[in-house]
Amino acid sequence: MAKDEAHGINGVTPGEAVGVVAAQSIGEPGTQMVLKAFHSAGISSVITTKGLPRIIEIVDARKKPKFPIMEIRLEKGIEKNYAKVREIWRKIEEVKVSNVITNFDEDLKSGTLILHLDKEKLSFYEITGKTVASRLSKREDLSVEQMDSETIKMKYKGKGRTAHMVRTAFVNVLGSAIVGIKGIIKATVQQAEDGTYTITTSGSNLEEVMKIDGVDKWHLYSNDIFEVMRVYGIDAARNLIAHELDEVIKEEGFTVSFRHIALVADAMTHTGNIKSIGRHGVAGQKESVFARAAYEETVKHFTNASVFGEIDHLKGVAENILIGKQIGLGTGIIRLTVKKDDLKKVKPKKED
């Protein structure tokens, strides 16, 4: 289709160095961006990295974003039913023991820990003291006894009762989860103008959220690129990279054509794996020894090349600049041959 005449003069010129154009189009506004780690509006409940730091985070292909978030849509039919949505929400947010207690008494000598549960918080999360107790009773190093609905007593019964070990066990208890999905620090239910509810979370765990009934599995969103690749595949990851870059740039008030952003995303993913832009990724895994050596870690690339007997075919831009040849991009892509005999037929004209 694209070669169609409809595109005519509006099509790209073959040879165009689109990589450099894309890189410059994203890098140039970067100079004008703020380096604030995050500028949350203060009121919004989810916090994410914004601006230049987020661009660098994406382009570096960090294994985990600093502030992972998710947006969960719900299946048709229950999306406007608050009670049902709340039911789902309850399964998502990870509630730890420390979230539902007012205070605790510990006695390291006898190895006892008494938890005083917070009634309000229990009802907010819709759990009872019993759930907490039964959850804790799965631990092998503690005996659990529920005193009343708001008090739980625990006794350490593990081997070798040093104060340090008892303490570690107790700290563990406070940090252990009662309900919810691992890694979801906070989930909030939000209502859109048309009355549909969505759940926004701090922390991301696609695999687990997908298992919950009522969650729209076809419209899950997470800003964790590697997780998306694991769950949905490389194409989804590519789209996510492009989408995230686009959002960040837009939010900073710059307009960058999506094709440049998509090219960066494709550069990172076209091999089927997520590669970072930079020394350990795209730039560091180029075929050409010279291109790699001219970028970073010069000596390492030369010595390794000699060990493995690598061959540099001098096709890229960096190599040709190095050896002083015309580069094979842009106007350099064109090769002309002339029949020498034909040249002789040309007669010189007199200049006026």
């Binding site: 099509g11 780690a37 090219l263």
Partner: protein
């Protein structure tokens, strides 16, 4: 001057035999010159290695300093020494092979599994078939089902306790950086390791990706050391006549000295301990010769305690050979000076000081066609004249009064005449940092008096230049191809639309915008003489149709800048603007149409009428608008920043409101009622919310101001039309400065628990934390002034940090993607033809023309 014929470059390691074959001299004397200042035979500047002194002759090729390329020599090391850069590879090989039988620690079955991958590698001996040249251990490891790499394979081979071939239990290996190896705790001598490595069969090496024809691992242990020619390490003669040798020569002298002592001691039968000590010293010297920054090795220093710059340091980093001399090269035919603005130039021109024009040259490639044209320049005695004539044999002859006639007569096709720069030549103009492609454009030369290069203000935007002392570079293309490329692709008039978003990057600014806005107001009228004067300014000599009262409207004058037949509908801040058949019918012209806020009108004209008409439109609008601005008079006074009592009352209200809200939050925080934001502590949550609340003050003030100010206030007019300044400036001068911030938070450091001693300790009140109630007009309170200074310093520092961070991001992006290009099938390819996108951008469209193709314009 192209390096034709280099098809590919293969990297290998040198064998001792090869080194000896390359070498023209075995060096034996650890010294350079004798007392007479003459090179010692067999010394480090032996004349067989080439000569650098004029007057001496190379003993190998007979060439002089300029013609002799230099020749390699060698040193025979008495005891072998490990090449430090390969010690990791050596360690890897030792771990992968058997201690006894030196075979790879893989079973036949595992080898079979690997074979398919290896095949592609092995066939790489035929360079044409070398589809996969980088198959190394990384790829190999993937066969084992692991993604990442070398470490995993080593782990795998390391865990092999028994050799599958000879069933020998494997000893424990250890590498003590950089060059010491231990087998079961016993230190290994380099020759022992050499023995081990040399016994690994070629076929096994292939299995881990090493091409034995290129590299045998025993070559990693040096028995002969290649000595680079003197041309590589020239000595400098100081003013005092003293010679100062290159760092490499110093290092080589050290190596030879130790080598000689070691030889003597061995011959004299010295005790083993002494020999071992010397051997280790030799190892140290060789290690630092290759890389003086090897981790774990003390840095070798010059007499003056300056660290020596040895081989690795020469190549590495920003100032190393690759990035400084090979990726970036120095050029001739260039100029650099301060820039200044010139409104009478076109955006396509650049003003060049005559002194520069006299020194820069443009080549005329003489052919039958242009012999007479070229001869004119040789015959001319004053500017413009020919500077040099390059003869057919490539010899450059300077034109002088002595040889002028001779050269003029002898001029023939095939010669090149270098003439001075004249008006109309094309020159590449550039400002650093070169962040995007519009940072280098081809301008038409206009030779001017003065010492600065001049450019039109509108073209300052793509260069990101201003005239407070900026300097710019100029290059004159020297080949016909380069000239053609500059002419057809690089002129500013063709670069109006940015490839980033397809919007204009050449547009009018500031005074021009305000002029155009005022000119196109509904009630603007001109008498006939005024109208004539204005139009003559843009070279238009016919009047538009007059109104009934005999006057001419501003809109009709503006219409004279528009190309004939233009139809356009655009949005402005004031509403809609309609242009019909080249006439501005309705609405105003503002920054959204002709400025940086979209420049929709410029884009439209560029798309429909092309670069030349677009450029003239831009220049004419600028001129006409400037005349309008000058006629109306744009001036601001203190009055513009003076507030009525009513407004001041509003301000007090705003401040009180914001402060009381902040106080509420503080109370909540103190009463422990504030809900924590995820990922933040209570204190941080409080700070975030309070700060958001206090920053709100500016917005409230802005709304009040917007209601009360009118366009009679010129400063407000400028902000409203987005010619210069913004509402925030107004808020800060008229109402209040608002909350100051440091690293995105309220200021917090200084004295214990407070910023200044005028506040209570741990006070969380707005004023104690950088909230400023005063305006610039009022003047700031001393404490406020201090807070403001803190905020200003913080933003100055952040700014300098951002440039470093984003500069590196830019370098990484460009480096990663520089090889991508659009193929003839509109797919995006990398250097080796790998597919990145099947169709560029999903639609194969040029980013500057997407709007037209998609019909959104």
């Amino acid at each position: 001057m192209q390096a034709e014929g280099i098809e590919y470059i293969k990297f290998t390691t040198l064998s001792p035999e090869r080194i000896k074959r390359m070498s023209v001299a075995k060096l034996i004397v650890p010294d350079t010159y004798n007392e007479d200042g003459y090179p010692i035979d067999g010394g480090l500047v032996d004349q067989r290695l080439g000569v650098i002194d004029p007057g001496l002759k190379c003993k190998t090729c007979g060439g002089r300093a300029k013609t002799c390329p230099g020749h390699f020599g060698h040193i025979e090391l008495v005891r072998p020494v490990i090449h430090p850069e390969f010690s990791k590879t050596i360690y890897l090989l030792l771990q992968s092979t058997c201690f006894q039988c030196h075979r790879l620690l893989l079973t036949e079955a595992q080898v079979q599994e690997i074979q398919p991958v290896i095949k592609t590698f092995v066939s790489a001996e035929e360079p044409e078939e070398a589809a996969v040249t980088t198959v190394d251990i990384t790829t190999l490891a993937s066969v084992f089902g692991e993604q990442d790499s070398r470490a995993i394979l080593i782990k795998k081979l390391k865990s092999v306790k028994k050799c599958p071939h000879c069933t020998t239990p494997q000893p424990k290996l250890k590498l003590e950086r950089p060059t010491f190896f231990y087998v079961d705790g016993n230190k290994q001598k380099p020759d022992e390791i050499r023995d081990w490595l040399s016994k690994i069969p070629d076929s096994d090496l292939k299995l881990i990706g090493i091409d034995a024809t290129a590299t045998r691992p025993e070559w990693f242990i040096l028995t002969t050391l290649l000595v680079p020619p003197v041309n590589v390490r020239p000595s400098i003669t100081l003013e005092s006549g003293e010679r100062s040798e290159d760092d490499l020569t110093h290092k080589l002298v050290d190596i030879m000295r130790i080598n000689q002592r070691l030889e003597q001691d061995i011959d004299a039968g010295a005790p083993q301990i002494i020999i071992d000590d010397l051997w280790e010293l030799l190892q140290y010297q060789v290690t630092t010769y290759f890389n003086n920054e090897t981790p774990g090795v003390p840095v070798a220093r010059h007499r003056s305690t300056r660290p020596l710059k040895t081989l690795a340091q020469r190549l590495k980093g920003k100032e190393g050979r690759l990035r400084y001399n090979l990726s970036g090269k120095r050029v001739n035919f260039s100029a650099r000076t301060v820039i200044s603005s010139d409104a009478s130039l076109t955006v396509n021109q650049v003003g060049i000081p005559s002194r520069i024009a006299e020194n820069l040259t443009v080549p005329i490639y003489v052919a039958l066609w242009n012999v007479d044209y070229a001869r004119k320049y040789i015959d001319s005695k004053a500017y413009p004249t020919a500077i040099n004539v390059i003869m057919k044999d490539g010899i450059r002859k300077r034109v002088s009064d002595v040889n002028r006639e001779e050269l003029s007569k002898g001029l023939a096709p095939g010669m090149i005449v270098e003439r001075q720069l004249v008006d109309g030549d094309l020159a590449l103009f550039n400002r650093q940092p070169t962040l995007h492609r519009m940072s280098i454009m081809a301008h038409t030369v206009k030779v001017l008096p003065g010492r600065t290069m001049r450019l039109h203000v509108s073209v300052a935007m793509p260069y990101n230049a201003d005239f407070d002392g900026d300097e710019m570079n100029l290059h004159i293309p020297q080949s016909l191809e380069a000239m053609a490329e500059a002419r057809y692709l690089m002129q500013p008039k063709d670069q109006v639309l940015s490839a980033r978003d397809g919007r204009p990057i050449l547009f009018t600014e500031e005074d021009e915008i305000i002029g155009a806005y005022l000119l196109t107001q509904d009630n603007i009228k001109f008498a006939k003489d005024d109208a004539c004067r204005m139009l003559a300014g843009i070279d238009v000599y016919e009047l538009p149709k007059a109104s009934k009262d005999g006057t001419y409207t501003g809109k009709s004058l503006f219409s004279k800048t528009l190309p004939k037949g233009l139809n356009f509908e655009g949005k402005t801040a004031d509403g809609k603007t309609t242009i019909k058949n080249g006439e501005l019918v309705d609405g105003v012209v503002d920054e959204k149409m002709i400025g940086g806020g979209g420049g929709t009108l410029i884009a439209k004209i560029f798309d429909e009428y092309g670069s030349d008409i677009c450029m003239h439109f831009l220049l004419n609008v600028a001129k006409l608008s400037l005349m309008m601005t000058a006629k109306v008079g744009m001036t601001v006074s203190v009055r513009d920043y003076y507030n009525s009592d009513a407004i001041l009352k509003e301000r007090t209200k705003i401040v009180n409101e914001v402060e009381s809200k902040a106080n509420d939050i503080l109370q909540k925080y103190k009463n422990n009622q504030l809900e924590r934001l995820p990922g933040y502590t209570r204190k941080e949550t409080f700070e975030l919310i309070v700060m958001a609340q206090l920053e709100e003050a500016r917005h409230l003030a802005e709304n009040v101001l917007k209601k009360s100010l009118t366009v009679e206030n010129r400063a407000f007019l400028m902000a409203k039309v987005r010619a210069r300044g913004n509402i925030l400036n107004f808020v800060q001068t008229n109402m209040l400065l608002g909350q100051q911030s440091i690293r995105g938070r309220r200021p917090s450091r200084g004295y214990t628990g407070r910023i200044l001693p005028y506040f209570k300790r741990s006070s969380k009140l707005p004023a104690a934390k950088g909230f400023i109630k005063s305006s610039f007009f009022d003047g700031l309170q001393p404490t406020e002034f201090y807070m403001h200074a803190m905020g200003a310093r913080d933003s100055a520092m952040t700014k300098s940090l951002v440039t470093a961070v984003s500069g590196y991001l830019q370098r990484r992006l460009v480096n990663a993607m520089q090889d991508f290009y659009v193929g003839k099938d509109l797919s995006v390819r990398d250097a080796s033809g790998g597919l990145v996108q099947t169709i560029y951008g999903g639609d194969g469209l040029d980013p500057t023309r997407v709007r037209i193709a998609k019909g959104t314009m």
